[in-house]
Amino acid sequence: MNNIRSIYTRELKSFFTSPMGYIFLVIFAVINGYFFTNTFFLFNQSDMRALFGIVPLVFLFFVPAVTMGLIAKEKNAGTMEVISTLPLRDTEFVIGKYLAGLTLILVGLGFTLVHLLTLASVGTNIDFGAAICGYLGLVLMGAFYASIGIFSSAITENQVVSFIIGIAIVITFFLMDKLLIFVTPSMAGIIQYISVEFHFSNISRGVVDTRNLIYFGSMIWLFLTLTVRVLEMRKWR
């Protein structure tokens, strides 16, 4: 626990001592803000559903960008050798890093609360239950993508490569839902269950089923475990 905290704090500090953390957050906030307010001026009305439609798309790029350096940077700089020879378990290292990346994503998501607050102060007829469910969905989605991101960061020492692999895996899970018309009905159920969109839309509609929570939990666990395994493999190369 102590070690996870050390890794987590170090990583979070390094996000904010370099310009990277700020750049990511500003870009994320600006893109979301742009799309959210776009319709606002066209139709003179606004709702949070617009935001919950945009953020998943922005996440496709934002999350791999945040996580691309988590492990790849350490490998590239050689600090991985120092870390691996400290009395530290690979699991602790991965969890600490993962939580730091996730924190940055949650901070980014926190910026979008501005829109909710604006609506709450000037709008009428606001369904806070739906907003809370929407945010829960986004948090789970961000956490899932972050686990994919840290995995792709572990398999290479090049941050750009990690970014591209991250996007590729994330988009695969994102688009799986759209493939359903091409597969046999027997496969459709499975593919639908694997696709992230299915679970996300369930949750953001307000139907928080344990099936959805189990999906996100097990996917995050799977990718974090894979990350640890990849790190262990370096010993045997």
Partner: protein, 314 residues
């Protein structure tokens, strides 16, 4: 005590380490010498638990490196080759981070920090960013971070490469200081760095140990040729030729005529010392000897002899 038994490490088809055996005893400074790519760093990486061996084993104080990696890593301080550091951190934060991972916090950290700052001379840069420090300081920061938990075993991979002569002397002094109470393993491809610091040397070549002993032992066991410089006056070419013919064990490698005197370079097997015979010859030929100085066997000769021969054997 560290015990390395028949250590083998292959990177795919490349046999980086090919059956290495040695021991390091408590309070000993061991130097590991070898050309680039001889297998030194790989051996050290296995000893620190960074890599797993393909075959063989490493025991640290009776603990097996594969089963007790975490315990062993607690006892070891390691400075990897090229000294990778978190450049974006301040020196203080870096040391605090390492200390925290090693469960040193609060008062214990303050004490440990004061000790390494004094030992490594870091007081001037403690609040600087690591990236802003000079190479010499970076090396000291790496060393400070490796010894913050006061480890019983210190493993340093090429700790002085790339430093200027003054910095080398400083780091060397520091290592010697540390070696008084710790077991130190230090690798290098530069002889002078090691010769002055260590108690015992092992020479590695092609993934194997080709020599193991103190620097005196290694030089004593050296079977190469000794060189002798002879400067004489009043020597005719003919009498010089006679010298070569008269003493069987001797080979003349070079003759230089300078201002009426001859500087002759000679070579002979260490066991048959020809100096007396040369003197007698000079007396008979009526030479005046200005200089006769055998060059003493340098560790470098031993190293070159062992590693070059090893390479040609394969």
């Amino acid at each position: 005590m560290i015990q390395v038994e028949n250590l083998i490490k292959h990177y795919g088809p490349v046999k980086a380490v090919n059956g290495i055996d040695f021991q390091v005893h408590d309070g000993e400074i061991l130097g590991m010498l070898g050309a680039n790519g001889a297998g030194k760093s790989t051996t050290l990486k296995v000893m620190t638990g960074y890599l797993s061996p393909t075959g063989g084993n490493v025991h640290v104080n009776e603990l097996n490196i594969q089963d007790h990696s975490l315990e062993i890593r607690r006892q070891i301080g390691y400075l990897p080759e090229l000294n990778p550091l978190y450049l974006d951190m301040r020196v203080y934060d870096l040391l605090e981070f390492t200390a925290r991972v090693r469960q040193i916090e609060g008062k214990a950290f303050k004490k440990a920090l004061a000790r390494v700052v004094e030992l490594c001379g870091l007081s001037g840069v403690i609040h600087k960013q690591v990236a802003a420090c000079s190479k010499g300081y970076k090396q000291r920061i790496g060393l400070a971070s490796a010894i913050i938990h006061d480890p019983a075993i210190l493993i340093l991979d090429e700790p002085v490469s790339g430093l200027d002569p003054n910095q080398i002397r400083e780091i060397r002094g520091l290592i010697k200081e540390l070696g008084r109470e710790k077991m130190v393993v230090i690798s290098s491809h530069i002889l002078q760095e090691i010769e002055a610091t260590v108690d015992r040397i092992i020479i590695i070549d092609g993934g194997k140990i080709v020599a193991d002993g103190t620097s005196d032992e290694l030089m004593a066991s050296f079977h190469g040729k000794t060189h002798l410089t002879l400067e004489v006056k009043h020597a005719s070419d003919e009498s010089i030729r006679e010298l070569n013919a008269g003493i069987a064990a001797l080979t003349i490698t070079d003759i230089n005529a300078v201002n009426g005197s001859h500087v002759i370079q000679l070579e002979y097997e260490k066991k048959d010392d020809p100096r007396e015979a040369i003197f007698m010859h000079a007396l008979a030929a009526k030479w005046t000897i200005l200089e006769m100085s055998p060059s003493r066997v340098q560790l470098e000769d031993v190293f070159r002899n062992l590693t070059v021969k090893g390479a040609s054997d394969e």
